[in-house]
Symmetry: C2
Subunit: 194 residues, 2 copies
């Protein structure tokens, strides 16, 4: 506690950001005190405005400022890439190779934490399958992600839609010596002809 | 770039915080989207309010909400601890042993970067010396901090005020094996009787 109320309040607000503890929050708050007033006002209004303007795309569930996002409006709707979070879709956009659309589940099946089939956007995915040729399951390669991919694949396959899963294996630029056993095992079992 | 204007603006604002790059800023911005609306509004108003309410104490130059800070109002004015920044005063307050007041210079002498004698609050310090018994130079133990301490000490000593400097040596809990030569040399030359 700095003993200065307005500063303590701002420090407490900064600690709500992910991975920000008291020390980092204090550093941020002091830097705000040193910024020009107009800059701080821009910062405050950017915060206040973002939730008003940004909401979920009514089709894919990704963030957008309009009703339907740019990707859903302009891209190949016959391929859907299913991801857990909007951030994951953004990661794929950086690759620039993908020309299809996304479907954001906003979570992964996790019965132990009470996240069930009706808590993530599976129903919405099923309602989008008309005319779709391929669904790429791009959930995280962890227990919850795998379970979610498997569950959805079992629902979709009987409808005659091709379902694929992202490849697992060694990350590019990594070192075999330091790879974990599970990844290395997967890289071995999924080996490809050269 | 996420392609969502309001989100991109907020990400750009977060990168203005110290040590925050594009990746961390993006993470912060997405976490803001997931916060309840009231919480984001509190955050925005904490930012907007902080500079209006918090300004410099007219005596010591530390941050305060009033005209004169709590420390200057209530503590022993015969001892002044001279620090570079308000954050340094806060660090001393954590020790809880110090009962005197502070003087914040808001900088250290650094001729190469154009910071001269008139750019930091030295004049203000000299005008506070009436009735002062001791001035503790608590500037950083680096080139600029040492130069600043030395310069101020030479000004104050002729006025008959005792000037002291923080002790330099091995940090508590550190390992001699990994201590740098300068620190170790200083710890040796400043050794004390047991």
């Amino acid at each position: 506690m700095t003993g200065i109320e307005a500063l303590d309040i701002l420090i407490a607000e900064f600690t709500k950001l992910p991975g920000v503890g008291r020390k980092t929050a204090t550093r941020y708050a002091y830097s705000v005190l040193e910024m020009p007033k107009e800059e701080v006002d821009c910062f405050a209004s950017a915060l206040a405005v973002v939730q008003d303007k940004v909401h979920f795309c009514s089709l894919c569930g990704n963030y957008t400022e309009g009703d339907v996002c740019d990707i859903c409006q302009s891209r190949d709707k016959s391929v859907i890439c299913v991801v857990k979070e909007p951030q994951d879709a953004m990661a794929f956009e950086k690759v620039k190779d993908y020309k299809g659309v996304y479907h954001v589940l906003h979570g992964a099946l996790d019965p132990l934490r009470g996240v069930g089939v009706n808590d993530i956007r599976i129903k919405e995915l099923l309602s989008r399958l008309d005319g779709v040729k391929e669904v790429i399951m791009a959930t995280n390669p962890d227990a919850e992600g795998e379970a979610t991919a498997l569950y959805i694949a079992r629902l979709i396959k009987p409808l005659g839609v091709k379902v694929t899963r992202l490849a697992h294996g060694l990350p590019i630029g990594s070192d075999i010596e330091y790879a974990d056993e599970v990844t290395l095992g997967r890289a071995l079992s999924d080996r490809k002809d050269m």
